[in-house]
Symmetry: C2
Subunit: 385 residues, 2 copies
DNA sequence: GTTTGTTAGTAAAGCTTACGAACAAACAGC
DNA sequence: GCTGTTTGTTCGTAAGCTTTACTAACAAAC
């Protein structure tokens, strides 16, 4: 049932140490070039066929051929002649048919609600639905998700390209949620169930990974790590422009890594001093409430930021990241906390590693997982992002 | 429509979130398939064309075509008919021409000598040369390397496929050593200089990365980290079967990450409590010499192992690795030290992450970088490993 | 108004690549 | 000897990209 292609690494041997594992046919090459044309349009905006040829390296002939195919499928539209005055035959502008498709996105990362949205291919949220979770678990959550999706579909003003769902927990590449304690899920084949119920293409991923994809779309960095801070603490890792899944789909699980060698508060997991005990929103709020005065409050934030830096330092060293992004409540994380993290990273790693490292809050706010879920659909259906 | 189509992946855009960036032509696909055939033979040993077709998924026709090309190039040889009695036309066995090519490998990771070897395509060291470094730096080291290579070439009993060099420091993808303090190198284009001098294909990489490639070749793991312990401490990271280079070619630089929150010995880099101050061979030996009695010596080793575990815990969490390999003096690292690292990792990360994690010493011993340098050549020249 | 030069897009032909169909060779088993 | 099986090759075909050559359409210069 699992398609071979889902696991096959059909990439070319560009990355040196990559063992070739599956055959590659000319039609795969064409699919890649097709995605390349789409990607160029999606990211760069309207252009002529000749522009696309110059940018992709393909010939004008090939681009014309691919464009004709994409126009026939309704993914690309002709906009008419370019206005500006240049010598030569005026160019026919074409663009990604941005209003021809919508994406349904679902965010399950919030503790108490299911968030859904109709999103366009540029990541703009057009319609929104939020249903309370009310402590539901197991199948009830799946039903709730389907309920949200039915309502979203009614709100969509164009055909739906696909459904993207960001779920907490361990999610594999084909959309099976192996474990999501908060939702009472174990081995739930969410991809299949939603696909069967809706008849649409469905892509399910871990919520932190979805957030990371949203971030990746807006940055030039190819090596970044996104830390998500909420009730729990998670992370998504991109290396060489590629999301890291890990050997058991559990990459990014840094919330229960012990920080430092000086103890810490007891954690729900049984250990002491896990990152979550320093950084999770409930813990941070509790500490802030207990703190007396502005100075004490800032000390709480700085200490949390320091702990984050302590955990990230070995990761930055091992991976030579170029960007660290933090997602979560900006009023808690954006100020002294992030500053302390930056200081700590500088103090605990080689200067060469932090010199070109950017550390910042996300600009996506609360929509980050929704937008990431949309990226999952774009990527899965069209090979673009 | 069906979940099947919903799960289909778009050919080359592997790993979902990979932006297509370059065109792909049919000839690239052929190069990939060619490497696939070679890889299958190299790893699986002699086989018939029909065997290869079954294993690769290509047709017998295509395999025959590729094999003919490879035979013409001398990379593959026919061995004659298969002996075993089966119905049907007897198969003609073919195999990688293992004795038709040699690789020259150079290891610059040792502090006091240049190690060189003639290596066969299976990674066996056939001839060895070691020249003392005698404190040489800069151009003198380059000359020494060229000297070693001339001698090695005289010892090679078959045409040389290429030269692989594992160097300490920051080495980029095209073989420029941006910084290797021990050798007095800054921005040394080692690849070009050796290629010009020898007229052979040359591949230069970081020594820890080379070691990691050697390890990768012998394991089924696609997500592993190799820690190299010598005068310094370094690491190489493989994720999804692919070496991680980092945004500035500095991935794996964990030697100067500060460990823990309880101070430590001063380090040459100016900080205190870097991993190297706990784990490097000179520091370890000094501490062991100062320790009084077997119990104290074991405490030293256990503490060093614990510090390694503290640094690796966040990395294991972030990446969900399946294998950790340690390279270095086995008498120091192999016993109590490694045991303490394992204990520490278990105590400081989620149980799910360590359950399937293997932690072990390398089996390559001192030849690990030489073998890895050979893998670099195999990979770079033939697309195999 | 004409000429010149440039750019956009298309058409035709050719090369490369992989595939399917068909076949001969070579063998085991009866 | 006959049948069935397996191997490896030959032949023709489809897909995909390129090169070459063309038409259309424009700006600039005269």
């Amino acid at each position: 049932m699992t398609p071979d292609t889902a696991r096959s690494d059909a990439g070319f041997t560009v990355g040196r140490a990559l063992r070739p594992t599956a055959k590659v046919l000319p039609e795969h090459a064409r699919a890649h070039n097709r995605a390349l044309v789409l990607q160029t349009l999606l990211a760069g905006g309207a252009a002529s066929r000749a522009d696309l040829a110059r940018e992709t390296g393909l010939t004008r002939v090939t681009v014309s051929d691919l464009v004709a195919e994409l126009i026939a499928e309704g993914l690309i539209v002709e906009l008419g002649h370019r206005e500006d005055a240049r010598p030569g035959k005026p160019a026919t502008l074409i663009d990604f048919a941005r209003d021809a498709h919508r994406i349904l996105a679902v965010d399950l990362s919030e503790h108490s609600l299911v968030r859904g949205a109709v999103v366009d291919v540029d990541g703009n949220v057009l319609e929104r639905i939020e249903l309370p979770l009310d402590g539901a678990t197991g199948d009830a959550v799946v039903e709730l998700v389907l309920d949200v999706l039915v309502r979203l579909q009614a709100l969509a003003d164009a055909p739906v390209l696909g459904i993207g769902i960001g779920s907490p927990g361990v999610v594999d590449r084909v959309g099976v949620v192996h474990s999501a304690p908060n939702l009472g899920w174990r081995e739930v084949d969410l991809q299949r169930r939603v696909a069967v119920a809706t008849g649409l293409p469905v892509h399910v991923g871990n919520d932190a990974n979805a957030a990371t994809l949203a971030e990746l779309r807006g940055t030039a960095s190819d090596d970044l790590l996104v830390v998500t801070v909420g009730r729990g603490v998670g992370a998504g890792v991109v290396l060489g422009g590629r999301l890291v899944f890990g050997s058991a789909w559990a990459a990014g699980e840094i919330g229960h890594v012990v920080v430092g060698t000086d103890g810490g508060a007891p954690c729900a997991c049984g250990k002491e001093g896990c990152l979550e005990t320093w950084l999770s929103v409930p813990r941070l709020e509790a500490r802030l409430a207990a703190a007396d005065g502005e100075e004490a409050r800032e000390a709480v934030l700085r200490e949390a930021g320091r702990r984050l830096g302590i955990v990230l330092a070995p990761v930055v060293g091992a991976l030579n990241l170029s960007e660290l992004v933090v997602s979560g409540p900006e009023e808690l994380l954006g100020g002294a906390l992030l500053g302390a993290t930056a200081d700590t990273l500088r103090n605990r790693t080689m200067a060469e590693l932090t010199r070109d490292l950017r550390l910042r809050m996300t600009a996506h706010g609360k929509d980050i997982v929704l937008r990431g879920a949309a990226v999952m659909v774009l990527s899965g259906q069209l090979g673009v992002s």
